[in-house]
Symmetry: C2
Subunit: 767 residues, 2 copies
């Protein structure tokens, strides 16, 4: 029984409370605003299994690493996203009995993630041990309009008694990360204060000295009438709160409004934190819950206007794609170029909340098409800011020059330590270069190249220059000992994708150099000087490009994933006894490695990225060879296959691949959603629809669409921001309509024909 | 200043006490008797850096493993040799001041490992804080004649005062392993008793329930006169002891004799342990220290008679080779077929005291030539007993049949968890098969094959049968994804050595089957039935043997270490800036892997093992290609190269390689002797002399010698036990003398000519 959520176009709905699903729901019903995020933990006490998670973006901890066998170059620390002060807590006692859903009878439980409005609500009837029944209705959100603010409305109605309700709103900084390697607590108390109407708590991380200040206040009303309360202040280690009791008659509704401002030393000096938190809180309290809620609805309306996908005729698909878009929008808003996108967003601790190549390879396209170009640009700037660290990382691994970006990072330093990943999965460097191309190609922002792009490209090209291996006997350059995107191969020679993306990086770097020399000669000279770029270097890059070795099989006319790939047993996945899959749960690592089975797109990833350089036949031959060997055991795999299948006209395969990720978390497909949602792979699902079914590409500054309707839907539509205009593309059963929602005219190529879509008008094209 | 020990033919001598070298000396001056071992820790209190180590062979602990990133098939536990009850302890107080060499001034310190007699002695003058001076002379040994017994003579003489000496002999089971993964203690108390003249302590391991009982008694005398003592019994957690004080006049000698019996539940039922310990102790005490010492000298005289190597004209070399022989003899005596040889013997905890392929590849030849054949046979039986576990291990890794012996083990189960080692370094299976061949070839004990050998061979052949990969396009069998003996390559395809030893195993198994069918038809039928051996299987083995793929380069006419080896940068080690070596301390793992540098013999290991199948030219071409790429960063590497160099007539290279291991620990060459000595590689040094300089081989039941004098020595001689006779081979400057020390005539082939050496006579042959 994986499927326990109700289908709905705009909401995720859970009906009936089941303890064993609670941690999954805690992930799925998470809320965030790019600045902070909160798992769907309960406000009141809860003694059942739970993964507490209150996360402040960019606040992390360098936890001492755990390793079986040390290798030179491994990092000593693994940076992990921190579970921070629990700011949602409201203790509830009914006539002295603590409300705890794990310890009472729960009826009419409903939990709703309202994606349209960006709120989490919950209602239930709790029958306490002594038979007393109360109804609770809770609503909360983290404000998109005021990112430091979280607000909660928590209502209690006694149903069959009158009595005393005791309420304890609090801030608790005495929290722990579940994934702490040595069961250490990461926070120390700095300051606390429980004032007349406001309580404040400042905690700091035991390393790196991040300070987080939370300031809270609360109000209560009964049947809509504000209450004047007698408050008992509470102070404990890393904890502040109030306790107050109210007599409530049967059927009266007691409502608690809790407002919290969370501010961090990432934005304020230590001395300013308390004032900043108080000011943010004051303004929020003055606005009041209603107004804050209204603001929230408005910001989300804007988000949906820019990024919604509508699927007609399939509620489950509609719900799923909106859930994915919702998660992406609440994980990263692009306002802060020091932030990036963790694989679990704000929904869990796993993967340490760190940045992977997922961002460049999968997430960037989503933000390029659904938000102002400055948002995607900030994702690029993030890596630019880490260039120095990437150079240091290359030195650590023995390279004299160039930059190797880390596989997993929070601050630019490598966090991970499996040699086959950390040291060998160097293709990530290519994805970071490719993102620059992708951004500039999409937005036309050529200025980025001189400002930031070239430096990153040149240092990555230098890395490849040093990393290749010249083989005199063959007069060719090779790249030995790598792990490609398909992590079910380790330490292989000449992974085609890696060789290709390395060579491509050097090509593109030379192209950008030519462009800058011509278009921005002064800046060009400055950069050559700053980079100390020598002619021998660019000449060497040209030589490597010319003499790069690409493994290839003449008989099958396909690129080889790596040297020797055809020596493997090539039995396709469909002929494998299903008891063996997923391989990563059933096979030992050596067996996986020597098999031909592919975790995620590898050769095909290259044909996808560099799609305009390969003809359809080449793509088809390689797809036909590799896809049947692919087990898709990375959530990032199906989307690339779906998009390529669309291009190749394999409609059923495209839809099958789309389905594999669309409801990954909602249906807990991988049995691991309790750890958090697969946030970055959600961008892949979005790509399946827009780049796959929609066939979106940008060529020579023109938006190309090549849509087809997968046939299971009445119609679907998506939004595309492109160079100032916003287009809504609706793919019906017979035709495609491109509607320009802005006043800026747009040129669009549909099925190979160019159209100009005037401001606020549309074109319709038959399939 | 690595070299701090005095050169001497029969002893290891340290003069002058230096704190920072103490842990190195604790390793080097270790004593053992195959049943138990003891680092050269001090009897009295010591507050300086020390690695306490009292080890009982076969008593181990399954410590919870520590791993960075889990893989299917990894063992949950790492079995490690246990630091057991400290039985040497004797607390000393002089007028209330504790004797502690880290806290007083030490003069005239001498520590001597008397290898001829198997004893450790120590003498020094300690000047205490208040100026009192005492002379201490301590002597101890673990009895070779009575393996459960340890004995200590500890003498104190006040030099400039008269006063009270307080003595506290004790047994302390409250000890810890330094390498405990989670700082846990592994022992719990079972029983303790402090009687009038005897104290006993039984402790048990918290897992596996090993019980160790230690029983001690002690005597004291002053100036040779036995003392009647007033004893204060002491009992603490896991601790028993006595405290007693004696008034000693200036220049009087107070002598303490401490006797301990250590018995374990490996040999006795829980209920018998105390009685067994008491009985052993009683008998030892009755014999007295003098007699025990005499027995010790006698047993060691026998050992030396059988295994000594004499080098004339080079004291350092003489000392080194005796040290190696001494360590081997005190580590493994071959009396107990449940025991094996840990890489550090009884000298430290590192590598968990577990069994590696070192035993079969390096140690077996030493025991074959220097002891009764039953000793080497017991090393084989050890693996026979683990056959069931090896089959289970293969199942765990997904194999339907066959056996994969563990890489690292204590009880037959795999202990290690690096996938590239544990799962992929499968050539170990070949070494275990090869050891059977080696043993039978040397001893002529064909009966072993039917009794035990075939079962192991057949199950290993079955493993290879399933592990190979048929490549239809090439009509060949390959072995993909392995790590060869050269661990500086991981997950390679078609490691020549692995393919070769796999194929060889199947060849030998078929040969043994033929032999048994003909010579022992009844047993043959029994075994075919027991093994359920099918004709398809042996046919399949034949096919694999015929169609096995061996990577080879036609141009250079050499075997390739693995597919693609020649694509690497082939710069020889001599052209590498020395700042890079040792690579394992300076290079990240990926850099090591993609380099051509070789940790230890790989192709050459195969040419060494299967030396009679390859001609000298082939060996020469491969040696000339691979040796210059070899960094010898395993202590097991130089010996194989030394032996091959001898065969190829590369005298200087042979001697250079010999020197790299001969004094490895005595000169702390690898800067790690404090962790323990490299016990198994000592067998390699022995091989360098006997198989290398001596040119010893056994062909068709005949002992072949092909000696040469490396030129740095006047002469050298070694002992060889061969089929009942013991030969002493002396290699002088001009001639070789083979002396038969037994009455059984022996046939010997020297420089290609066969001689019969009569009982107690000799032959002399010119070079």
């Amino acid at each position: 029984m994986k499927k326990y959520l109700k289908e709905d176009k705009w909401s995720i709905i859970e009906e009936g409370f089941q303890l064993h699903q609670h941690e999954i729901s805690e992930s799925i019903f998470s809320i965030g605003n790019g600045y902070m995020g909160q798992r769907a933990n309960f406000e009141e006490a809860y003694s059942g299994p739970t993964l507490q998670g209150s996360y402040m973006a960019g606040v992390y901890y360098p936890d001492k690493t755990r390793v079986g066998w040390w290798k030179n170059g491994y990092p000593e620390y693994f940076a992990k996203v921190l579970n921070s002060t629990n700011w949602i807590g409201i203790g509830i006692e009914i006539e002295g009995e603590i409300l705890d859903l794990a310890a009472c009878t729960v009826r009419e439980f409903t939990r709703v993630l309202n994606m349209k409005e960006g709120t989490l609500s919950r209602s239930f009837i709790a029958e306490l041990e002594d038979g007393k029944e109360i109804r609770v209705e809770a609503l909360r959100f983290v404000s998109m309009a005021r990112h430091e603010i979280g607000a909660i409305r928590y209502a209690i109605t006694p149903l069959n008694f009158s009595g005393k309700v005791t309420v304890t709103p609090y801030l608790d900084g005495d929290v722990q990360n579940k994934d702490s390697n040595y069961d250490e607590k990461f926070w120390a108390e700095v300051y606390k204060e429980v004032g007349e109407s406001e309580a404040a708590l400042t905690v700091k991380t035991k390393k790196l000295d991040f300070h987080v200040t939370s300031v809270m206040s609360f109000e209560m009303s009964k049947n809509g009438e504000p209450l004047v309360l007698e408050l008992e202040p509470i102070e404990k280690d890393k904890y502040v709160g109030y306790r107050t009791s109210v007599d409530v008659q049967q059927d009266e509704q007691l409502v608690i409004y809790k407002y919290v401002a969370n501010v961090t030393s990432r934005d304020y000096g230590f001395g300013q934190l308390l004032d900043a938190g108080r000011a943010a809180l004051k303004s929020a309290v003055e606005a009041g819950f209603q107004e804050l809620h209204k603001e929230q609805v408005n910001v989300w309306a804007d988000k949906w206007r820019e990024s919604d996908i509508v699927i007609e005729g399939d509620v489950a698909a509609q719900q799923a794609i909106r859930f994915n878009i919702f998660q992406l929008n609440q994980t990263y808003t692009g306002e802060d170029d020091r932030l990036n996108i963790g694989p679990k967003g704000f929904t869990g601790e796993k993967y340490g909340g760190s940045t992977y190549w997922d961002t460049e390879a999968y997430c960037l396209p989503f933000y390029l098409s659904t938000a102002d170009s400055s948002i995607a640009r900030n994702l690029l700037i993030y890596r630019y800011k880490h260039l120095q660290k990437a150079k240091e990382n290359a030195r650590k691994l023995g390279f004299v020059k160039g930059a190797l970006y880390p596989m997993v990072t929070m601050n630019g330093e490598e966090c991970h330590n499996e040699w086959e990943i950390t040291f060998e999965e160097i293709h990530r460097n290519g994805a970071i270069a490719y993102a620059i191309y992708n951004y500039v190609n999409y937005t036309g922002d050529q200025a980025y190249l001189g400002q930031y792009g070239l430096e990153v490209l040149a240092e990555i090209s230098r890395f490849w220059e040093e990393r290749v291996n010249y083989v005199p006997a063959k007069d060719q350059y090779m790249i030995l000992g790598v792990t490609g995107p398909n992590e079910y191969e380790n330490n292989v020679n000449n992974n085609w994708y890696t060789n290709r993306i390395a060579s491509w990086t050097m090509e593109y770097t030379l192209e950008v150099l030519q462009y800058l020399k011509k278009s921005e000669p002064t800046r060009y000279e400055e950069l050559v000087e700053k980079l100390q770029l020598k002619e021998e270097e660019t000449e060497k890059w040209s030589e490597i490009i010319t003499k790069m070795y690409y493994p290839y099989d003449g008989e099958k006319d396909i690129y080889l994933q790596q040297d020797g790939f055809l020596d493997k047993d090539l039995t396709p996945v469909r002929d494998l006894d299903p008891k063996h899959t997923p391989l990563n749960q059933n096979w030992s690592w050596d067996r996986i490695l020597r098999s031909a089975y592919i975790k995620q797109a590898d050769v095909l990833q290259g044909l996808f990225f560099l799609g305009d350089r390969y003809d359809l036949d080449t793509k088809k031959r390689n797809f036909d060879f590799y896809e049947p060997l692919t087990v898709h055991e990375s959530s990032l795999s199906p989307c690339v296959h779906s998009i390529m299948a669309c291009e190749l006209g394999y409609k059923e395969k495209a839809y099958e691949m789309y389905l594999r990720t669309a409801r990954l978390d909602l249906d807990n497909y991988n049995n691991d959603t309790e750890d958090g949602c697969h946030s970055t792979s959600m961008a892949g699902t979005w790509m399946s629809v827009v780049h796959g079914f929609g066939g979106l590409r940008v060529k020579d500054g023109e938006l190309h669409l090549n849509p087809f309707n997968p046939g299971h839907w009445k119609s679907f539509s998506f939004k595309v921001m492109f160079r100032g205009s916003r287009l809504k593309v609706t793919v019906g059963e017979q035709d495609v309509t491109v509607t320009n929602e802005t006043k800026i005219p747009a040129k669009v190529n549909v099925y190979g024909n160019s159209y100009t879509v005037g401001g606020l008008s549309h074109v319709k094209v038959n399939h």
